[in-house]
């Protein structure tokens, strides 16, 4: 090999290697390499109870390693004869956003970057035109004259467009009506975010913030509020760790005006059955999309 060709080849090689190294640089920032256990984990629906027990222990270990607190991670199954429905009274909602923050606290969402499942829209009186809505309002006190408020979160559709587009079946609808996400199966393609007509899905673009210990909710569930990783999708799951244990969701508990109602639509004596039977129920949001939400807005008068 001549001197010239050696120099040329080595220069090209150096450039190529440097460019390769530069393109791989984002890997340097990745600090969350999957363990072999996680890498080989089975699909949620194919796991045996023993597999699940192992996975739950792994998650508990991971959280304990990060926070030095041992959480209680469960995998609650849907109850028989239960289908959840949410009703929200637009006459009563005062737009105080307490539900937003109770949800964030309950579900261990990232604070900075901010991930919130509920978006409270403020609309001018006399119209339900979402184009006129805003969600950055910050008056000294609410409710404001001339406006009403409409919180929007995952509508738990009966015919969910987000589920249809998922290429890896990482999101699906459970028998009790909750559309769930397996955070360990999600590949982060964000198709579901694009498909959702309610802007209900949130993506972890960066690593979710580490929460202060006292703000961490230790009652966790596999499909619910266990800590998420960068690059996965998440959304409202009707507080699956609470509602499948028979409790009300967190946003309902905190609402000062009692505007939020939740229950089992298959029980004819439940609150939601009464509301759907006897109150003036405004259409489901974006009814024309054919998604058939399980989230109903109603009025008092």
């Amino acid at each position: 090999m001549g001197r010239r060709s050696f120099l040329r080849t080595s220069a090209v090689l150096t450039t190529g290697l440097a460019a390769l190294a530069a393109s791989l640089k984002p890997l340097l920032e990745m600090n969350d390499f999957p363990t072999m256990e996680r890498f080989l984990q089975k699909y949620y629906k194919e796991m045996t109870p023993q597999d699940m027990a192992k996975v739950l222990k792994r998650i508990e270990d991971e959280v304990e390693q990060q926070y030095h607190l041992r959480p209680h991670v469960r995998d609650l199954k849907p109850m028989d004869g239960v289908e959840f429905v949410y009703c929200l009274n637009l006459t009563r909602c005062i737009g105080c956003r307490k539900c937003v923050h109770a949800c964030v606290a309950e579900n261990n969402q990232s604070r900075d970057p901010e991930i919130q499942y509920i978006r409270v829209l403020r609309l001018p009186d006399g119209s339900l035109d979402i184009d006129k809505a805003g969600h950055f309002y910050a008056p000294a006190s609410v409710p404001e004259k001339g406006f009403f408020y409409m919180p929007v979160q995952c509508q738990q559709c009966e015919n969910p467009p987000c589920v249809k587009v998922c290429p890896v079946h990482a999101t699906w609808q459970e028998p009790d009506g909750i559309t769930v996400i397996d955070y360990d199966w999600c590949i982060g393609c964000r198709y579901c975010e694009a498909a959702c007509p309610y802007w209900a899905r949130r993506f972890n673009f960066t690593k979710p913030s580490t929460l202060p210990k006292e703000r961490l909710n230790l009652d966790m569930s596999y499909l619910g509020n266990r800590p998420r990783r960068q690059g996965v999708m998440e959304k409202c799951h009707f507080c699956i760790q609470r509602t499948r244990a028979g409790r009300y969701p967190s946003c309902l508990e905190v609402c000062p005006a009692g505007a939020r109602k939740f229950g089992n639509i298959r029980d004819p004596n439940s609150e939601v059955s009464y509301i759907l039977k006897s109150k003036r129920v405004f259409i489901q949001l974006k009814e024309e999309m054919g998604t058939a939400p399980r989230f109903f807005y109603y009025f008092d008068v």
Binding site: I94, F136, S141
Partner: protein, 339 residues
């Protein structure tokens, strides 16, 4: 220069340029990071699950001080309390326990302060506009920038309280045009017709301010009774609901006698449809378990959220909204109002 040498030089230059670019990319030089302030944790007030008010039943359950409800500390058990009427035959609510006319920091809580400042800033009514004009420019600016969830409320309080006290010390602030649309209490009307000098005047001005800001400024007067039940003032009569011969009981018009803990029955005796909704769980707050086999469901009483003497649901400062990544334009924050 031969073609070969030209190619060599070009290749070398391209190689050097690519190496430099790769190095720059590796070192992240020239990259500008988006600088935005860190998002603070939300105030735990906004995570509080307690109700707006504590009902009598709550107080009994918590073993709290019930002396406020012990009518016979002051009243005589055998003689019913005399009703004092003003010239319009309106009932005068007893004015015992009234302290000095001037406002102090204890009279105005954080929520009240936010409410007052909100109304002053927007001054939609003549009274608020009058108060706003009495502030200096610098004070107005400070209040404009006031956010309830941020520190600086002490500073705002130091502006609002002296301003209110300044107005109390002025000549009578009552003008029919200014107070048009304000529901004046019976006591205020009586005071308006009496001599307006000295302490009487200060007291009248305070009553006027309290009537103009019923939610924010009304103070502990006969256990903070401000009458405002119904749109027309027709229900502002003590014995529509209270039993005149036994003050510890309530009495709906059908003659039943109810204790304070059963007050929801009394409310339901007039508000039938709302009571039906409340019974079914469609109105009011519930908490606990929806699945009764797993735990108890708790349904809150009417008076947990509504003050029976002034049932309008109180306004409150909102929790912080989402933090945008870019500046919010006015169009985002305030959608076009439909006229």
């Amino acid at each position: 220069m031969t073609a070969n040498a030209k190619t060599g030089i070009t290749a070398a230059v391209v190689c050097a340029a690519f190496s430099a670019l790769a190095l720059a990319f590796l070192l992240d030089s020239g990259g500008t990071h988006l600088h935005r302030p860190a998002i603070p944790l939300v105030d735990t007030n906004f995570l509080d699950k307690s109700t707006t008010r504590r009902s009598y039943a709550d107080l009994v359950r918590a073993g709290a001080d019930l002396s406020d409800f012990d009518c016979y500390i002051c009243h005589d058990k055998k003689t019913p309390p005399p009703l004092r009427l003003d010239t319009n035959q309106n009932i005068l609510v007893a004015t015992e326990h009234i302290g000095p006319a001037t406002f102090s920091a204890d009279d105005i809580g954080t929520n009240d302060l936010a409410g007052i400042i909100g109304r002053l800033k927007e001054h939609p009514d003549p009274v608020a506009a009058f108060l706003w004009q009495s502030l200096s420019n610098s004070e107005q600016l400070l209040l404009m920038n006031y956010r309830p969830s941020q520190p600086g409320s002490k500073q705002a309080q130091d502006i609002v309280i002296p301003a209110l006290n300044r107005i109390i010390a002025e000549p009578c602030i009552y003008e029919p045009g200014r107070f048009k649309g304000v529901f004046l209490g019976a006591e205020t009307i009586v005071h308006l017709q009496q001599s307006q000098t000295g302490p009487n005047l200060a007291h009248l001005n305070r009553l006027l301010l309290e009537d103009a800001f019923p939610l924010e400024l009304a103070r502990n007067r006969h256990a903070d009774i401000v009458m405002g039940h119904g749109q027309h003032g027709r229900n502002n009569n003590c014995f529509n609901c209270h039993n005149e011969t036994n003050l510890t009981l309530l009495q709906p018009r059908d003659g039943r006698q109810l204790t304070f803990a059963q007050s929801s029955q009394l409310c339901g005796s007039c508000h039938g449809p709302t009571k039906a909704d409340w019974d079914a769980g469609a109105h009011g707050r519930t908490s606990g378990y929806w699945e009764l086999s797993k735990g108890a469901m708790e349904r809150k009483d009417c008076v947990n959220c509504h003050n029976p003497h002034y049932p309008h649901f109180p306004s409150r400062p909102p929790a912080p909204g989402p933090y945008p990544l870019r500046e919010i334009t006015v169009a985002d924050a305030v959608p076009a109002r439909q006229e």
